[in-house]
């Protein structure tokens, strides 16, 4: 291939299938005689269960089985604590089916298996539970106070974790500060809301003793390990397949959800395939959520605007359980200084139990909250010091010559010291200002004001640690029959285009078209070493593993081809699906090289004749397969990142606020983004844009509305306001490409980038638009019309 595939806008291999409706999402997979499940879920946030009567449900025609905690054997246990951390106190995890008490509305109490989902829901409706409701406290600050109702009797004060991290000498910095600002900000709870809800199906083969589980998970290999362990099966007898998965955004990386254990159990017990297709209401009630944090952040500055110290103390709502450890709060706390030098940092968080579904990472994972806190504080500092918002940021950025920039004392989610590896922050800021037209904005704002319109400029910068370890693997094989290249890795995909970007990486090494590279992942029978898809890590970790592997296969191919072409290895090049003698028209197709590398007994087709033992090409000394060699053109290798690599960006917008209707319209939105070398800019932009849309949701629309009694008032798409196309403005995305020095491809992650800064940008813009009417502060997202109305009222407008 003469042109490099890496860096090109290659259309996706997976698209035709999905566009034709031929995708295979879990509920699309035909399973003969499959049974369906429904759950009885708690209507109370906290209650003692005094009795459960399943008799009527069991007798309902079409109901096959009803399970409560008494009927599930080894599964009547607290589910795994996935990421332990020493700062956690009394870590609590959920039981598949509640025993004796419930801790949030929607908690699973009983599972009904029936001939169809309609009947299963009927059965769940017939279960009678006697509850003794208990008091709840939904407000995190009040929940920490002595005497507050407890989510868990074993967790005094509702405190799930308390952690302090210190970088430099923050007390000294505050002592010598010339100016200090302190603000309080809040981000409310949201949910990933993937278009496909979670889903699982299981089939038990009693003859082979194999359990096959189709799970819409981001972590098939990890789920496999857990299932094998809990059900005491050998790992090779458990196959977990994550087929096409309709979005994940973190929600599908948690395991186990109750159904992921109970459905396989029922399949084994009943001898029939069983499936659970979560419905939208259940996704709102029972699948992980994120975001609620309240930060009290202080900046210690010099008169020049240089920030010399930061203190942040925040509360993090972890829900009723903490199965994913402190990951979200830890990422927030280690991202708190953003792209700024700020050498002295004190950051503390308390993770608080609330009687709600557990909090685990949702795209962004604590970064949007940290960004919101520090960026709103920077705006406030700029205002108090009389500095321009662009200028104050420029004065605090880590310079291009200051990388790697270490934050000694802050340990990132990979357990390693925060070390920002590369970036051109000031350049990105300049690009944002230019693209937005920042220099003429004051005039535009005044002109609009003359027409009765209120325009504001919003700005925020962010960093994102990406590409966490521990490792991923790659397997690459050139198929001897078709010459196509098969690639495996241990991830699963939820729409990120893995099949195309990994194909591009391999394409460049082996000289084949990206569409001739077939990526198979999400199946433990295809590849079962690895971790999962999360934390913007696929391109970095699997991408580099596959890259390393492809290089090995390339070397093997050249060696074999040079032998066949009877030239030296450095005279061979790989392009157009063949190995060529450089500068000649002599070539041998990759299929033939692969075939010749696989000594055969049987000539099952014409091509195979060349590799059989009496063929002329098979002359050799010694055994057909040399000692220490393996058949075929194939390799497996792994990549384990030395540390996370830090992407970053600058977002800026012009918003219009209508003080009459309190509507906020984004008139212009600019995103400057740098994720290192881009494998496929089209896919990068897709990831960034999708993130920005979710960010706009979080900035203006999406808030889970928990009532004081713990009920979720908006558990539907009717009431949880995810943006439609009509709510999303045009966005201009511009790129910088500062390679990461940490990995061979020079790439950084991009999956979460888009959503991080949006809340801060919108709040900054609304505040700027309305400052003409009085001093109003917007430090709480999503920013609702009611908040704007209240603010206007507070200044008598």
């Amino acid at each position: 291939m003469s042109t490099r595939s890496f860096g090109a806008r290659v259309e996706r291999n997976v698209d035709p299938k999905l566009l034709r409706g031929e995708g295979a999402f879990i509920d699309d997979i035909p399973l003969a005689n499959v049974l369906h499940t429904a759950f009885l879920r708690s209507p109370h946030a906290r209650a003692r269960i005094k009795s459960i009567d399943v008799r009527a449900a069991k007798q309902h025609p079409g109901v096959v089985a009803v399970y409560t905690c008494d009927d599930i054997g080894v599964l009547d246990m607290a589910m795994p604590l996935l990421i332990p951390h020493p700062c956690m106190k009394n870590p609590q995890t959920q039981r598949p089916l509640a025993r004796d008490e419930v801790h949030y509305v929607g908690q699973t109490i009983a599972m009904v298996v029936a001939v169809d989902r309609y009947t299963a829901e009927d059965g769940a409706g017939l279960i009678e539970v006697e509850y003794e409701p208990l008091p709840v406290e939904m407000d995190m600050e009040k929940a920490l106070a002595p005497g507050a109702p407890l989510v868990h009797e074993k967790a005094p004060g509702n405190l799930a974790a308390h952690f302090v991290q210190v970088c430099g000498k923050p007390d000294d910095a505050f002592a010598r500060a010339e100016h200090i600002v302190k603000i309080r900000v809040q981000v409310d709870r949201s949910t990933a809301a993937p278009m496909e809800c979670r889903a699982i199906a299981a089939r038990w083969d009693a003859v082979s003793g194999e359990l096959t589980v189709w799970d819409g998970t981001q972590a098939p290999i990890s789920v496999r390990g857990g299932l094998a362990s809990i059900f005491a099966l050998d790992e090779d007898k458990v196959r977990v397949i994550a087929p096409d998965v309709g979005g994940g955004f973190g929600q599908k990386v948690l395991f186990f959800y109750p159904d992921e254990l109970l459905v396989p159990m029922a399949a084994m017990q009943l001898g029939r395939p069983v499936k659970y297709i979560e419905d939208r209401r259940e996704n709102f009630l029972g699948s992980s959520q994120e975001r609620t944090q309240i930060h009290e952040i202080e900046l210690a500055a010099l008169k020049t605007g240089e920030v010399i110290g930061l203190r942040d103390s925040f509360l993090h709502d972890t829900g009723a359980y903490i199965p994913y450890g402190i990951a979200v709060a830890q990422v927030a706390s280690t991202s708190i200084a953003g792209p700024y030098r700020i050498p002295n940092i004190w950051v503390e968080f308390k993770a608080v139990y609330t009687p709600t579904v557990q909090v685990t990472p949702y795209r962004g994972c604590g970064r949007p909250q940290a960004c919101f806190a520090v960026e709103r504080a920077m705006d406030q500092l700029a205002e108090e010091l009389g500095l321009d918002r662009f200028e104050i940021r420029k004065r605090n950025f880590i310079g291009v010559d200051q990388f790697p920039y270490e934050r000694e004392g802050l340990l990132f989610a990979d357990g390693l010291k925060v070390t920002l590896d590369s970036g051109q922050y000031a350049k990105a800021l300049g690009m944002a200002a230019d693209a937005l037209g920042a220099s003429s904005f004051a005039a535009d704002q005044a002109a609009a004001r003359a027409e009765g319109k209120y325009l504001g400029l919003g700005l925020a910068c962010y960093v994102e640690g990406t590409g966490l370890g521990p490792y991923e693997g790659g397997h690459v094989r050139i198929h001897p029959i078709t010459g196509k290249v098969y690639v495996n890795t241990g991830l699963s995909t939820q729409g990120q285009g893995h099949d195309t970007v990994f194909a591009q990486i391999v394409s460049d090494q082996l000289g084949v078209k990206p569409e001739d590279v077939i990526v198979v992942e999400g199946d433990t029978k295809a590849f079962d070493w690895g971790v999962a898809t999360f934390a913007s890590r696929a391109a970095v970790v699997s991408g580099n593993a596959i890259h390393k592997t492809a290089i090995t296969v390339r070397k093997k191919t050249i060696t074999a081809a040079a032998n066949m072409l009877e030239v030296a290895e450095d005279e061979v090049e790989l392009r157009d699906g063949a190995a060529w003698v450089i500068g000649s028209n002599r070539f041998v197709p990759l299929a033939a090289v692969a075939t010749a590398s696989n000594p055969l007994r049987y000539a099952f087709n014409e091509a195979a004749q060349a590799a059989t033992q009496f063929a002329p090409a098979s002359k050799h000394d010694g055994p057909p397969l040399g000692e220490g060699t393996a058949p075929g053109l194939e390799a497996t290798d792994y990549y384990s990142p030395p540390a996370s690599t830090w992407a970053y960006g600058v977002h800026a917008a012009i918003v219009e606020v209508d003080p009459g209707t309190c509507a906020v319209k984004i008139r212009k939105y600019i995103c400057i983004h740098d994720c290192g070398n881009m494998i496929n800019p089209m896919i990068v932009e897709g990831q960034v844009m999708g993130g920005i849309a979710q960010g706009i949701g979080g900035a203006l629309y999406e808030r889970l509305d928990y009532q004081p009694d713990g009920n979720l008032a908006n558990a539907s798409f009717m009431d949880f306001l995810m943006p439609y196309a009509t709510e999303i403005p045009d966005v201009k995305i511009l790129h910088l490409e500062t390679p990461s020095p940490l990995n061979p491809l020079g790439v950084k992650g991009v999956g979460e980038a888009g959503c991080i800064a949006v809340g801060a940008v919108v709040a900054s813009g609304v505040e700027d638009a309305l400052k003409q009417l009085g001093p109003m502060k917007f430090r709480h997202v999503p920013l609702t019309p009611t908040m704007i109305s209240d603010a206007l009222e507070s200044v008598g407008h």
Partner: protein, 175 residues
């Protein structure tokens, strides 16, 4: 694992049945189904046309959009029984051939207008119905946004879908 006695499991529920006869993608179909079966479940699980996806079952997300008598409608808010006598069209009938996509599908591919692909069939069916509606087609940015406004997508942020609709207009000469 120790073999246990197979439990006795009924074949189906005891729901009252109704016979429905309708046309699906040009083929006449007759089935006896539960009176309460949603058209989405009928298409997916009775007929095996699983390209029609189910994202919310309350009519908001648009994943389950099909054509009912030539117009886009939610199959999750329609009973199979209500579709008796109707002409239904699903995503499986849209592509030009086994190898050639419909221009709207082609435009989605060119513009990277899908990521996970779960909302995509409903999006395509909705757009297709507007392209096939008699009368003018508003392909301004605002017109396209309004056209897409009944379909949720969580992956793309819509901008590439808007571009794809514009591109489909070019490919079909509807600019």
């Amino acid at each position: 694992m120790k073999r246990t006695i197979k439990p006795s499991i009924p074949e189906r529920s005891e729901d009252p049945l109704i016979e429905v006869s309708l046309t699906v993608n040009g083929e006449a179909v007759t089935r006896k189904v539960s009176m309460r079966m949603l058209l989405s479940d009928f298409l997916r699980h009775e007929l095996g046309l699983t390209g029609t996806h189910v994202g919310c079952e309350h009519g908001v997300c648009g994943c389950c959009t099909v054509h009912i008598d030539g117009k886009a409608g939610r199959s999750c808010l329609t009973l199979a029984a209500q579709a008796n006598g109707a002409d239904i069209r699903t995503i499986e009938s849209v592509a030009t051939s086994e190898t050639v996509l419909h221009p709207i599908q082609q435009a989605f591919k060119e513009c990277h207008a899908l990521q996970c692909g779960f909302c995509t069939p409903g999006m395509v069916m909705n757009i297709l119905s507007r392209f096939e509606e008699p009368g003018p087609l508003d392909l301004s940015d605002e017109g396209i946004r309004d056209m897409l406004s009944g379909n949720l997508c969580r992956c793309t942020g819509y901008i590439n879908i808007i571009a794809a609709v514009r591109r489909a207009g070019e490919l079909t000469g509807r600019t």
